[in-house]
Every structure is written in C-alpha cells, then in structure tokens.
Symmetry: C2
Subunit: 383 residues, 2 copies
C-alpha cells in the first residue's frame, strides 16, 4: 500500500479492498455517483481518483476518507471471522445485480455459500409487533420451505423475522440474516444469540462495514438486499405502514414473486397482507407448499390441490345423489314415495336404488328402502 | 276451474296458478323439459298438455299430478300470508332470468318488494360450523352493507347465514332468507324465530311450495337463487368442501362478483375462502366498504384507501429523512458528525437541518443538533 489518501492513510489495493473502502465512505443506495465511477474505472482506480479529489462529488466524501482505516478493517474481518464478497465472485448472490445501486460489497459471517444458498431462496418477513399467530405461522412456513430446499432470508428483527429464522434453524435449514448495521454488531441486541447461531450454521450479511450502526436509512436499503437476493418475498404479518412492506415493494419493483399470508380481518398486523393481496397482486399463501409453488420453479414446486375430507357418495351422479338424499335413515320408504320425492321415473329410480345397494349406500327393508346402516354423518341434510 | 286432471282435480287457470302447479309437480332445476314446454305454450297450456298426457315426459309427472291440490295451496297461501311471484312481475328479481332453469315461481312471505330489494343486494353466505370470528365478521359485514343500502340475502342456515341475517336485522336493514323447503316451514327448526322475524320485516322466499321438505337437492338448487338474485356473493367462512362454495360456484358461473373474507391459515373454515381467493379470482374483502366496492356500482361504492397511522416526518424527502434519522435524541451531534453519518455535503446538510427546524422536527442544542423534544416514538429506529 504505497499510495495514500490526502489524510495520509494508505489507498486500497485491488478490487476487493477498494470495494471495502467504498462501502466505508458511502451510504447504501446514496452512492449512484460512486457506482458510475466504479463502472467506468473499476473500484480501485475510481477510489484513487476520489481520494485525490479528481472526481465529481469527491469533496463530500472527504470527511469519511479522513477516518478510513483499511488496516483496521482487515484486522476486524479476521477477528470476527468474516469475509468480503464482491460482484463477480462465485459466492456473490446474482439477484443483487438487478439493483440500480447494488452494494459495493457484502460483509459476511458464516459457513453458507451465499451464491448457492440464494439460488433457491425466499424472504420471509413481517411485522416486529407480530402476534403469536403470525410468529407460529412464520416458523412453520420457514421450516416447511427449508424442508423443500429453500434458504430462508430475513432481517433478524423482532417478531416475524426472528420467527422465520428460528423455524429454519429448528429443522437444520439454511438461513441468512441480512443486517442493517455491521455483521459483528447484532441488532436488536436481544437477538445476539440468535444472530450468532445463524452465523455458526447459516450466514449473517451486511453491506455496511463492521462498526456501522443500523440507521433507519440503512434498514430501508437493507430491505432491497433481502428482496433481490431471493426469488420471492413472503410477508407473514404486516400492518398498513409496516416497514416490512418496503421489502414487499422492492420485491415487486424488481419483478420478484410477492406472496402474503392472510389472517383475521380484525388483526391490524394482517391488514398490510390483505391490502397487498387485494391491490398489489400478492399471492395468497396458507402453507409452505403454496409458498414453494409461488416462489419456486414451475413444475418442480407444484402444491398439491387442497382437498376436504372424503364423504360417502362423493362420486354419485345427480340422480343417484338425489335418491340417496331422499332415502330415510330409519323407516323405509316405498318406491312410490321415492318417485314422488325425486320425480324420477319408476325404472330410473329402481336402477338408481340398485346401484346404491351395490355400493352399500342403500339397503332394502321389507317392502321399502332406506339408507344403509353403515352410512352415517356426511350425507343428506343441508348444503 | 272446469278442466280437470286425469285424477279428477281442477286444472290451474292463468299463468300464476299454472306456475304454482308446475312448482308442485317438478323438482327445482330438474324441470328443463317443463321450462321448454312453458316457453313454447305458456305455463297454463303447457300444464294442460302434461295433465292430459299430451307431452313428452308427462308420464313421470303423473304421480305428483295425482296428489296436486291447488285449492289447498291457495288456502295455505292465505293462511300463512304469503304470495306467489312469477317471471314478468314487477316484483320478480330480474337476476333470476339469467338461469337456464329458473324457478317456475317464488313463494314469498314478508313486506319487502323482492324486485327492488334485489336490485342492490349481496349474498352473504358461509359455513354452518362457523367460528365466532366468522360469525362476528359476517354480522359486521351484513350490518355495514345494509348501512350502504344493500339488501343482505342468505339461507338462514346455522353459522354464517344466520349471523348475516342477524347483522342486517340489528341495523333495521333489508334482508332476504331463501329457503330450501317451503316458506311456512322454518329450517333449521331452531331458527323459527329468526325466520319469522325476517318474514315480518324482510322477505322469506322459496321456489318450492308450502309443505316441501328441504332436501339436499333443494339446498343446492336454492343456492343458485341466492347467487343470481344478487349482484355478488360474499363467502365469510367456508371449509374446502363447504356447501356454501356451491353458492360461490353459481355466482362465478353466472358472472356475479365473488368475494371472500380471509381468516387464520390455521382455521379449516377459512380454507375454502383462501382457496377461492388464490385460485378462483374471488376478491379478498376485509370490511363492508370493501365488500360494497366489490359488489356495488363503479364510482358509487369506492372503498376509501386504507391508511396506517400518520407518523411525524412522513412527507420528508430522502435527504431530510436521513438527517432526521441521524439526529440523536439526547446528546446533540455536530454538523461534522452528521456529515460523516449521512455523507451529505455540508451545505445540503445545513439546509436540511434548517427545514427540519422550521417543521419542529430538529432543534439546535449548543453547537450541535438533536431531535426536537416534541418528537417521540414513530421516527428513527428500525424499519
């Protein structure tokens, strides 16, 4: 590191170091100019130009350039066992390339291969002030999605996010937490254990460097990573103004699948889900099979059709069904009575009775007919 | 009444009597041949032909012809205070004309003008084994629809149907119960009071004559009346095999609006609603305003957009929002610190602070800035 910044600090060498440095001196998504420079010169040369004041807008980056300390960042990386991914890496989640202002790099902790894990992944997000219904549903869905080979990506927040991660961890599934602050800085603090566990078996990811605080702006930018690294976003519970809807909007903006879980209409934290199903084309999803179908590959992930319980007599034709319905349970009815009730002809009626008898749905009783005794609830009555 | 049937009973005179007689000797929807005859000859002449054995299929109608007693029917009508509507009557619900096999007539009890009441009407139907959530929701929706000038049509069954009628009655709304059996024969029996009350202030309707039992077949046929007399059907709760879904299918078949209320994904009686929203194009509806919008007239019945609670700083631009988020609550931050955090230029930052100060979101404190004290929850933090 021979070149130095105006403050006397060494300049980054190579694309990876340069992108680490870029992530230090810019804010997520507010670095369009930086992205344009990097596209033109490459990250290393672009950085050198800014450090030398030879680029438009370089002035406003000087305050952060002055405190840049790449040596320290490299030490921190080693200390926390993290690594840095940059575009073009095998491990780089390809979905991020859809972003107009993609992250300069990703700081990641954990054993998962980010690129592979994201290839079949779904964001499971939602309200921090979730209900127990929402949390249970999020856990179940996440577990079921993991069972189907999906990686569950979320934000480690209170409520739905944490429930989704926990559901994934509970079945030894693959899960990724994308943080708004540095990867060594669990937020919320109460989720330190959860986030550390994810870093042990999954992946903890951030586009902002170690030490960065999770500001509101960074939360919103973080959401675009969750929405685009995955093939689809599933909102489990969200109020009408929930921050998780910003992830939903990002998913829509980038043509990802958006799905939402319904809930009671009396629940304020389902109102956002209902609105997005009503008005934004979100797919209503009630279980992991449906979520997998919505987000997964055509053909591979078809949810089985839902079926109610089978009832005796399900496959009868209209006349048979009418005769069966007309048969009394106890006191047998004569053929004449049944003709009167059904308006079927004598011969058609007798033929129906015969077919019902063969199928043990009707039985003779003296001169008349009644429902077979084996037959109980589920036939006849209202509709 | 000079002409007589082969059994020696007088033949009906005029269209109305003839249609009453037709409803006696046929089963709902199983009378395509009768409808064709009536279309060709008129109800009176068609009936005479059948009575004389001079029509195809007349044979199978003989058993019921033999027990036809129009005099008794007219007496019953008078005793129970009912009347008979036929197609072409001012009071005939015009939607029924969409049916391939419409009712021959409607037997009705109650003060409502059926034709007018159905002109702005919605079917509110659902599971008999409803949850208290479903029943409360059905009542609320029915009441809200009545408040908006809709007539609530349902089937007086246990569960959702009864809750819908009760919700309508509770606000002195207009409600119609369509029964599968005779209008003088409350079914279920436990709903005698409810049905009598509907007959007092609304309307109790059936296409089958007094004395008819509510058979399974008649329930299914009844559902087509509920579905087509109205402009739309709203399913509040329905299991995957619920009979109320037959009403939903009829509504779709006849191009009526179909709407459904979501519920917990863990509730079996919401599964049918969810399926119809997912796969059949049912509109998800969470309140009466949305139901009115779905079923009502374009323009007249627009539901207000749902809004979450207002938050301070909602209308800030991106830079202002970022500065606001960066401002500490207690210990003031210097402009230099804020520049570092936001990566805004000095001048832009100071301009933002000025605008935030004017709006009482930011305040000076010594040499620095912090959030205005009036500002509490709702700004900053996660997303």
């Amino acid at each position: 590191m021979n070149a130095v910044t105006r403050a006397g600090l060494p300049l980054p060498r190579g694309e990876r170091e340069a992108r680490m440095a870029w992530s230090r001196i810019t804010e997520p998504e507010r670095s369009q100019a930086a992205v344009a420079l990097i596209d033109e010169y490459g990250a290393e040369e672009a950085f050198a130009r800014v450090a030398a004041g030879r680029a438009e807008g370089a002035d406003r980056l000087q305050p952060r350039l002055a405190v840049l300390d790449l040596e320290r960042d490299l030490h921190v990386l080693e200390r926390i066992g993290a690594r840095v991914l940059i575009p073009g890496d095998d491990e780089w989640p390809s979905g991020l390339d859809d972003l107009a202002v993609p992250p300069h790099c990703l700081w990641v902790r954990g054993p998962l291969h980010a690129g592979e894990a994201c290839q079949r992944s779904v964001a499971v997000v939602g309200a921090r002030s979730a209900t127990s219904y929402g949390e249970t549903t999020a856990s179940d869905l996440a577990a079921g999605l993991c069972d189907r080979g999906f990686t569950v990506v979320s934000g480690a927040a209170f409520g739905i996010d944490a429930a989704a991660h926990r559901g994934a961890l509970a079945v030894d599934g693959s899960t990724i937490a994308v943080l708004a602050g540095g990867v060594e800085r669990p937020y919320p603090v109460a989720h330190r254990q959860l986030i550390d566990r994810i870093a042990e078996v999954g992946l903890v990811v951030s586009e902002v460097p170690p030490g960065s605080a999770p500001t509101k702006h960074r939360f919103l930018s973080r959401n675009r990573i969750i929405a685009t690294a995955t093939q689809g976003t599933l909102v489990v519970e969200a109020g009408l103004r929930s921050g998780s809807l910003s992830t939903a909007n990002r998913a829509l903006q980038h043509h990802r699948v958006l799905a939402a879980v319904p809930g009671p209409v009396t629940s304020m934290v389902s109102a956002g889900c209902h609105e997005y199903i009503r008005d934004r084309g979100a797919i209503l999803v009630t279980d992991a099979a449906e979520a997998a179908e919505a987000v997964g590959q055509l053909g591979r992930d078809l949810a089985p059709a839902k079926r109610g319980p089978e009832k005796a007599g399900d496959d009868l034709d209209a006349a048979e069904a009418m005769v069966l319905a007309a048969l009394p349970v106890r006191r047998p009815a004569s053929v004449a009575t049944l003709v009167l009730q059904t308006t079927l002809g004598d011969r058609e009626l007798v033929a129906c009775l015969g077919r019902l008898e063969v199928r043990r749905l009707a039985q003779r009783d003296g001169q008349g007919w009644r429902k077979a005794t084996a037959l109980r609830a589920g036939v006849g009555g209202g509709a």
